[in-house]
């Protein structure tokens, strides 16, 4: 199991170093590095893996350290006991602060959290009880032994124990199904929400997790160094943490640990290095990132992969395996018979699933939708057409939940879901594809589809430390891919597929969720005649089982597969009837076919 392996590695290495080096210089640097490693492990989860650009870990490290120092100095609490107290206190503070801060995303989040070290520095330097701009001393070691040797070893072992727990928790989370949620969240927050991931909650959980890890690291720092410098909350301290994380490997927990160790040893390596540390750090970071953006962990992983490949793949004839070959690009839609998965509850064609009542949407002064009313039953395939700019995508976004209408209501099974966010609508059975492909790069097709099969949405992030349901989600995804005849590509990296194949993966993902309402945004775009034909068959099959709303420009395709077609023009619903009327309607013809009369008549 991955987590046990990583933790075991940390424990063994840590114990060995502590016991061998004891209170010598190498040993004390190691203990310091471990304190930082606890912080960077949390950063690997929050910053690296889930791409939450948060710059406040140094503040919480400082909070943990100062907390232990104060409890020790003023309340004579032993540092070891003070650690969980500080952990809980910082956890609560992080919860409060995070609920405000994580409302922002991306760059806004980065700038907001960048303010925190600046504010903290200003506060700390003027706070007398914290020792002002110098710092706070304390006398309580983590381990109160009789001799300096036993104190050093005790401190070291306790810190390693903290790190081991941190690594275990981090790796368990990352390799669980919630780990897949977090990765998807980091890749694209909006798509993740459309796939049912509770993004606000996850972001808050990540913030608390990163902060608590940092606090524990800070507590260990205080209990081993016996002095909390005010520079611990400085922005430069945050920069130092970032260097440790990125040199080691931003997405790898073990990498983050290694990074901390490497950098700390670098600081103390020799007086020459100390003097030139800035130059060395600058060059080190640049070179490492140029070689592999995933840092030392990435470099090691590539080396291992290449070693593994070379020992396995020597062909008997000695002919190199990589002669350039004219590759027949695999067709996007396979020819095997398919059998799409059914939604969990059978669909009653007489039951009205979706009602849009008087929807209107304005952007600034521009009216994009005006009094759109339609109803869809629980089964069937429906087309939505219209000239560009008519509001089709907006309507789809409103039904999907990523855009709120200015007026009107959306009812699902009679319940008003107008203000319900996309992730909760996903839970009610609404699934969709997008015009531009939004898959998670450098993950396999299987994992991308599995995002839609996750059952962990309502669980908290810590619940996965015990039990992970990732295998079940992957099995579900494999089942869908199988039924669609796409099993052959399930292991392939999504970024290596052609655009048409990627579209099919998006479709598979939408279908894997077993939706009751499937919203498709121009799925045929870029597909060939033959592929469109197959897509049409697939859609018709699916329309027999659930409700599909299809936005498309290919009028022939829409007329062939839909049982009813809606046409939007200028934000208004101007046509709502069957395909037979669609083909002959003069209104439709003028809108969609004859709108721009060619300068001279074209043949064909």
């Amino acid at each position: 199991m991955k987590a046990l392996r990583s933790t075991g590695l940390v424990v063994v290495a840590g114990v060995v170093v502590v016991l061998v080096f004891g209170q010598q210089y190498a040993g004390s640097v190691f203990v310091l590095a471990v304190c930082y490693a606890i912080v960077t492990a949390g950063m690997a989860v929050q910053l690296g893996f889930s791409q939450q650009i948060v710059f406040s870990q140094c503040v919480f490290m400082g909070a943990g350290a100062y907390g232990v120092a104060l409890l020790n100095t003023h309340f004579s609490m032993p540092s070891l006991l003070a650690t969980p107290v500080v952990m809980v206190g910082c956890g609560v503070a992080a919860l409060l602060l995070g609920s405000v801060v994580t409302r922002a995303s991306g760059l806004a989040l980065a700038v907001a959290t960048l303010m925190l070290p600046l504010i903290a520095t200003g506060y700390v330097s003027s706070a007398g009880y914290l020792g002002g701009s110098v710092g706070a001393p304390l006398t309580g070691n983590l381990w109160n032994g009789s001799s300096t040797e036993s104190v050093a070893i005790g401190n070291g072992l306790i810190t390693v124990a903290f790190l081991a727990v941190a690594v275990f928790v981090a790796v368990r989370i990352l390799s669980s199904d919630i780990g897949l949620e977090l990765y998807a969240l980091g890749a694209d927050e909006r798509t993740a929400a459309a796939m049912g991931i509770r993004t606000p909650r996850r972001k808050l959980e990540l913030f608390v997790l990163g902060s608590v890890f940092a606090a524990v690291g800070g507590a260990a720092y205080a209990g081993t160094q016996l002095f909390v410098p005010a520079t611990l909350v400085d922005p430069t301290a945050e920069l130092a943490l970032l260097i440790m994380l990125f040199v080691g490997g931003r997405r790898s927990v073990l990498g983050a640990v290694v990074g901390a160790v490497v950098i700390q040893y670098l600081y103390g390596a020799s007086s020459w290095v100390s003097v030139n540390i800035l130059i060395i750090e600058g060059i080190l970071l640049t070179v490492v990132l140029l070689v592999d953006p995933e840092g030392l962990a990435g470099i090691l992983a590539s080396l291992l992969r290449r070693l593994g490949a070379s020992t396995h793949a020597t062909p008997a004839t000695g002919v190199p395996a990589t002669t350039p070959v004219v590759v027949a690009i695999p067709r996007a839609i396979p020819s095997a018979p398919f059998d799409p998965p059914t939604p969990s509850t059978p669909a009653d064609p007489d039951h009205t699933l979706l009602t849009c009542a008087g929807l209107g949407k304005e952007y600034g002064g521009l009216t994009v939708l005006d009094d759109v009313t339609l109803a869809l039953p629980a089964r069937g395939l429906f087309g939505l057409c219209g000239p560009n700019g008519a509001g089709k995508s907006t309507l789809l976004n409103i039904i999907g939940g990523s855009v709120a209408p200015s007026r009107g209501r959306v009812l699902l099974d009679g319940a008003d879901v107008t203000r319900l966010p996309p992730q909760l609508r996903f839970g009610l059975g609404v699934s969709r594809t997008f015009q531009t492909v939004h898959l998670i790069r450098d993950r396999s097709v299987l994992d991308n589809v599995a995002v839609a099969c996750l059952t962990s949405h309502r669980s908290s992030i810590v619940s996965r430390i015990a039990r992970s349901a990732l295998a079940q989600a992957r099995a579900s995804a494999a089942d869908t891919l199988d039924r669609l005849g796409m099993a052959a590509m399930s292991g392939r990296d999504v970024s290596s597929l052609t655009l048409e194949s990627q579209r099919m993966v998006e479709l598979a993902r939408a279908i894997a969720a077993r939706p009751r309402l499937l919203l498709l945004d121009e799925p045929a775009s870029g597909l060939s005649e033959q592929q469109r034909h197959r897509l049409g068959e697939l859609l018709r099959e699916f329309g027999d089982m659930t409700c599909v709303l299809l936005v498309e420009h290919d009028l022939d395709l829409v007329a062939q597969v839909s049982q009813r077609i809606f046409v939007l023009a200028g934000g208004r619903l101007v046509f709502d009837a069957g395909p037979a009327e669609f083909r002959v309607s003069p209104l439709v013809n003028s809108l969609l076919i004859g709108e721009f009369a060619p300068r001279r008549p074209l043949g064909g």
């Binding site: 991306g106 806004a108 700038v111 907001a112 430069t236 990132l289």
Partner: protein, 295 residues
């Protein structure tokens, strides 16, 4: 008049932030990279001139020319070697790593070199315009260096604005950042533009460091703080609009001065940062933040 003097002081420091914000913003527009070393180039400029002039007794014009020449060559080589490999090399990089961390590492490198060459004390380049502070309207005081700073900021800001708006080259430069592939199709040499803008912003930063260092002294570590403020001001300008970055820099400078004067000298900065955080969290779109950064 306290308010007036505060505002002038705020405008002066604000101009400093503003120019660096513009450098960050323009460079980001072209390359989608944030130049976090912009303050370090400024520091190198100031300390370099100081060193050559005061310690080695070069004449001032020679000191300035030599320092800028070194900055130009170094920036050119850095882009040629490192950034080209990172952006166009066999392992193309995208996203947060390249956006932040290469120039982040560069700033460390420059600081380290500066520490060795110039030591750890506070220094400043000599004032280019000598004399005491000027008095305007009988109670408003402004340092001569402050005037230079303001003038430089206005000149630099307007020059960029005119370039982008009214020359084909300026539009081509924008196209590089908007869509590198599309730019190449139109025959625009994106690499050359990026390199020129990188070197250009480095030189502007260095020049500006020389001009404003009489106001604030520099140590080898000052670069980091300036880069930080440049980054923050550019962020409030949305990173892509140099004009807004300029205004954001000025606004932050004035706000800082007012808070320092009216609230408290000690906690003024802290309150400033709290206000900035609140603005970002409360009104992200109004403050110019797009909803998400890629990668």
């Amino acid at each position: 008049m306290k308010l007036g003097n505060l505002i002038i002081a705020g405008l002066t420091t604000g101009s400093i932030y503003a120019v660096f914000a513009v450098c960050v913003s323009v460079w980001y527009r072209v390359s989608n990279i944030l130049n976090l070393a912009v303050g370090d180039f400024a520091m190198a400029g100031a300390l370099g001139v100081d060193n050559l002039y005061r310690v080695k007794s070069w004449p001032l014009p020679a000191a300035i020319a030599a320092t800028l020449a070194v900055v130009i060559v170094f920036a050119y080589l850095y882009d040629l070697v490192v950034l080209r490999l990172a952006q166009d090399g066999p392992r193309r990089q995208e996203g947060i790593v390249i956006t932040f961390f290469f120039t982040f590492a560069l700033s460390f490198f420059i600081d380290g070199v500066a520490k060795i060459l110039f030591g750890t004390d506070v220094h400043a380049a000599p004032a280019l315009w000598n004399g005491g502070s000027l008095t305007v309207a009988s109670s408003l005081h402004i340092e001569r260096a402050g005037v230079l700073v303001l003038a430089c900021a206005l000149i630099i800001g307007s020059a960029f604005w005119l370039y982008i708006r009214y020359t084909l080259g300026g539009k081509a430069m924008e196209a590089c950042g908007e869509n590198p592939l599309g730019a190449r199709i139109a025959g625009i040499d994106t690499r050359r533009y990026r390199r020129h803008i990188f070197v250009g912003t480095a030189v502007i930063a260095a020049v500006f460091g020389i001009v404003e260092s009489p106001i604030t002294g520099f140590t080898y570590l000052s670069g980091a703080t300036i880069s930080l403020t440049g980054f923050i001001a550019a962020a409030y300008g949305g990173f892509r609009k140099p004009g807004r970055a300029l205004l954001a820099g000025l606004a932050i400078g004035i706000l800082e001065a007012l808070l320092g004067g009216y609230v408290s000298a000690e906690y003024g900065d802290t309150v400033l940062y709290a206000i900035l955080a609140a603005l970002v969290l409360g009104w992200p779109r109004a403050m110019g933040f797009e909803s998400a950064v890629s990668g």
